[in-house]
């Protein structure tokens, strides 16, 4: 058993066939952590003892041929996910000693599905970032090139999956935070429709943007987790009561004739690296062989998306972080990291008397325009495709001193959160031995369509087999 080559689908079959036990599987992941975590800085908390105990219990159930969707499968949780009795830090020093007394709804669902929680992963503190460098701890490294960023904010979860430290990594996506690390680490990353997955117990960044998703090696694995996490939650008033389809059973859907939109504003973008454009276009040619149709569409308000995002999101952040006052938990507010302080102040300013109309309200109106852009486009096409990032994974420190430059790297990803629609990043090739991802976007609750297309493409190129050679 080589954990670096496993998929969940494969592991489930192997556990069934008794090729190895859950305990061995979990131990394999723990060993991989011991091997590489000091270099890669993936985990903030490893729950070794409990994980092995749970693996043992899983093995008992497996012996009795009891089936649960994720029985015995080790997963890693982003440290924004509240876990009962397991330290939860949000990647921040302010709650570096916080021991929650309840599980997030999604955590309960994953536990009930039999998953084994290996530990809590590193991230940009509070979700504030696209590279992983804004963690209050050591910055996570990209396993394909340890001098480069793995993408963020769900940086640790991405690297955990890419290196076999776990078979799935959960994350949150408010502007890019699942899809970008998925693209930079050669993974499938799902950003759900807003409201599809419960936010209860996931530390809030921007309440009307936050989505709760996950990263895996393959499309099937991703769909499997989604079947478990999706669904309405009475504890989350913004979760939508739409039935959850059996995503794994719908992967073989016929995609002939699927109309794929290419947003012309995205491909016209200055600052897009030539190689990214080339790799993505090659991937699109491969898709053509599946019988899909491409059509150029327009998203006219694209150039305003980042400005809109960087008013609304910090505004909600500034309010959501007010509860960290050192009274019921955590430390004093002066211990917030620089990026958190920046966003809190940006948001406080945008909401304050005299500026609310020109900033917050205006941005909320532009949000409506951007949402409408997508709705109009989806009248002509079924999905859209674009690169997940305009650049290859950048070097650590390259953008750290220029927050604005960092913000602008999310240009293809943020508009999707503004509109509340789903986005799936899938590996589509390599350049300079670094992974490139492409994003498939659809209207609300169209995830089946995204999975079908991604699944068919994966059959042509199994990019997930290109595992990193960690130096």
């Amino acid at each position: 058993m080589d954990v670096t080559k496993l998929t969940i689908k494969g592991a489930i079959q192997s556990l069934k066939k008794k090729e190895y036990s859950s305990k061995e599987l979990v131990q394999g992941c723990l060993d991989q952590i011991k091997r590489h975590d000091a270099t890669l800085h993936v985990f903030l908390t490893v729950d070794e003892k409990t994980a092995l105990q749970n693996a043992q219990e899983a093995d008992e159930l497996l012996k009795q041929d009891i089936t649960k969707p994720l029985l015995g499968i080790p997963i890693a949780l982003k440290d924004l996910y509240t876990t009962n009795n397991l330290r939860t830090t949000a990647g921040s020093k302010i709650i570096n000693n916080y021991m929650p007394t309840f599980d997030a709804t999604v955590v309960t669902k994953l536990k009930e599905a039999g998953a084994i929680i290996i530990g809590k992963t590193n991230e940009d503190a509070w979700g504030h970032g696209s590279s992983g460098e804004n963690t209050d701890y050591e910055a996570t490294r990209n396993p394909y090139d340890v001098t480069r960023v793995p993408g963020g904010s769900s940086s640790g979860s991405a690297v955990a999956v890419a290196t076999g430290m776990s078979l799935a990594g959960t994350g949150t996506d408010t502007g890019s935070s699942i899809r970008l690390p998925a693209a930079y680490c050669n993974l499938v990353g799902m950003k759900p429709t807003y409201g599809r997955v419960s936010r209860y117990g996931i530390i809030s960044m921007a309440s009307s943007f936050d989505t709760i998703g996950h990263m895996t090696k393959t499309v099937y694995d991703n769909a499997l987790l989604y079947e478990i996490t999706a669904g309405c939650d009475p504890k989350d008033a913004t979760s939508v009561d739409v039935p959850v389809p059996p995503y794994t059973k719908l992967l073989e859907k016929d995609i002939k004739g699927l109309r794929i939109g290419i947003p012309k504003e995205y491909f016209d973008l200055q600052g897009m690296q030539k190689e990214i454009q080339e790799v993505t276009q090659t991937a699109m040619k491969d898709l053509e062989s599946l019988g899909v149709q491409f059509k150029e569409i327009s998203l006219p308000h694209t150039s305003y998306a980042m400005a809109c995002y960087y008013i609304l999101v910090p505004s909600e952040i500034s309010s959501n972080l007010s509860r960290y006052d050192g009274i019921r938990f955590g430390h004093m507010r002066n211990q917030f990291g620089a990026e958190a302080k920046r966003r809190i102040m940006l948001g406080t300013y945008a909401l304050s008397v005299g500026y609310y109309e020109a900033f917050y309200k205006k941005a909320a109106q532009v949000r409506t325009c951007i949402k409408k852009d997508f709705e109009n486009a989806f009248k002509e096409v079924d999905v859209m495709i674009m690169p997940s990032s305009p650049t290859i994974p950048f070097k650590i420190g390259e953008k750290a001193s220029d927050p604005l430059a960092m913000y602008l790297s999310d240009i293809f990803l943020c508009p999707v959160n503004i509109a509340g629609i789903p986005g799936l990043s899938v590996p589509c090739g390599f350049t300079q031995q670094l992974p490139v991802g492409m994003q498939i976007v659809g209207p609300q609750f169209s995830e089946e369509r995204l999975y079908s297309l991604a699944g068919e493409y994966e059959k042509i190129h199994e990019w997930y087999t290109h595992i990193p050679n960690i130096k």
Binding site: T88, I95, Y98, G201, E316, S322, L351
Partner: protein, 437 residues
């Protein structure tokens, strides 16, 4: 020369609803006297990741109160975040309502005037603070049992001009709230809180003063009265000197018998309101709102008019019978169950402190009948007494014929004296009126 000033007073009333659970979570709402921090959960403690879900009943009750106060219920409403920092506010913001309250533009009749009600809206309560010395240090202790309890806020326009009007308003509002059975509205226990705003203008002026002083954290109506009185005096003195009054928040200091400025913890009230993203907006159909309106029982004013009309009751008696909804209901039940004239039952209820919780109407009827019998006197004896009184009280008769009600009372008293306490006042009144017609 001293000017005459007219007080311009507005009132904010906060009412804790007596729902089973809190406004945004399932913790018990009844927090009075409980051990600290024993009725909390991640939501009302503001723990990371917790999310609010609104209590349907609380919203219905807020609308019910608004309708009882003649408000309109707009088709669309929402919650907003009111952002500020204070140790009793766990999230660092209060979920409240800003520009789309549940109810608006109502009124209530006080004497011959209408007091306009600007809005009735829904919000959540904060935790409770205590300042003590512990282990040699000055500390602040926080209990979050009260955090998240549903609050309704009733805001008037600055339409009050006397303390008496404020007094009557508070009594009326309290009565209506208790008739609706949505809160105990008990000032001592904090389930009703008053925040008057006071300013002065020169008598005869129509304009609103350009400042106001808010009074907060006063937990009895007696102290609120004193505070308002003191404020009026304090502000007059400042204005007489030609100086301006500082706009501020003040509290009542009972030992010094003065109002004193309270320390403000937020900068210049910049609450940075924005729509609460964790709670979808609300839309109400006419059918829904009318459904709530139907749940409103007969309210005090309507009951009083009806009692006076139907039972030929005089106003002072009716006033007492409508104090508590249960008292009025008890009265009517007794009337239904017996043949005794309602006026007699009413007077009996008013004059004797009946334990209506423990004495059933049927027993009460027996009590009245017994008393009647004790006072029983021959009609002939009564008539003789009446003649005697009429003969020796010509002036009173004249006054009565002129319309003086007090003269009638006097005559009844004289007849009772003649009868040495026997006889029933109501019957005597009826007979006297017949004789003098």
């Amino acid at each position: 020369m001293k000017k005459i000033y007219e007080p311009v007073i507005g009132l904010e009333v906060h009412v804790e609803l007596k729902t089973n659970s809190k406004m945004f979570c399932g913790c018990p709402a009844d927090h009075f006297g409980k051990e600290p921090n024993t009725q909390t959960c991640p939501v009302c403690l503001g723990l990371p990741g917790a999310l609010p879900v609104p209590n349907k009943k609380a919203i219905e009750w807020c609308i019910k109160l608004g309708l009882a106060l003649h408000c309109t219920v707009p088709a669309e409403s929402k919650f907003d975040r009111k952002n500020y920092f204070y140790p009793d506010l766990p999230k660092g913001y209060q979920i409240s309502q800003y520009d789309k309250p549940l109810c608006e533009n109502g009124w209530i009749q006080i004497n011959d005037r209408k007091i306009r009600i600007r809005r009735v809206h829904q919000e959540e309560d904060t935790g409770k603070l205590q300042h003590i010395e512990a282990e040699g240090q000055q500390v602040t202790l926080v209990d979050f049992n009260r955090s998240g309890v549903p609050l309704v806020e009733i805001v008037t326009e600055p339409d009050f001009h006397t303390i008496d009007e404020v007094d009557q308003y508070v009594k009326q509002i309290r009565r209506i709230i208790r008739y609706l059975d949505i809160s105990n509205a008990d000032m001592e226990k904090g389930s009703m809180r008053l925040e008057p705003s006071i300013s002065l203008r020169v008598s005869g002026s129509d304009e609103l003063p350009n400042y106001r002083v808010e009074l907060k954290n006063i937990n009895s109506f007696r102290f609120v009265r004193k505070a308002i009185e003191f404020e009026i005096k304090r502000q007059s003195e400042i204005l007489d000197l030609g100086e301006t009054i500082v706009q501020q928040t003040r509290g009542w200091n009972e030992s010094k018998q003065v109002t004193l400025p309270q320390r403000e913890k937020e900068e210049a009230h910049d609450y940075r309101y924005f729509p609460e993203p964790d709670i979808p907006p609300m839309r109400f159909t006419n059918v829904f709102v009318e459904g709530i309106r139907k749940q409103i029982p007969e309210l005090p004013d309507a009951k009083k008019s009806r009692f006076m009309k139907t039972y030929n009751m005089n106003e002072s008696v009716a006033d007492i019978l409508i104090q508590e909804k249960e008292l009025g209901e008890y009265f009517e039940k007794t009337v239904r169950l017996s043949q005794i004239p309602p006026v007699i039952i009413a007077n009996a209820l008013v004059n004797q402190s009946m334990d209506i919780q423990n004495v059933k109407p049927e027993e009460f009827i027996n009590v009245i009948n017994k008393k009647q019998q004790e006072k029983q006197v021959d009609t002939g004896v009564v008539e003789t007494a009446i003649e005697a009184v009429i003969a020796s009280n010509a002036k009173a008769i004249e006054d009565y014929k002129k319309g003086k009600v007090s003269a009638l009372m006097f005559l009844i008293g004289m007849v009772k004296r003649e009868l040495k306490g026997k006889g029933d006042a109501t019957t005597i009144e009826i007979e006297l009126k017949k004789r003098l017609a």
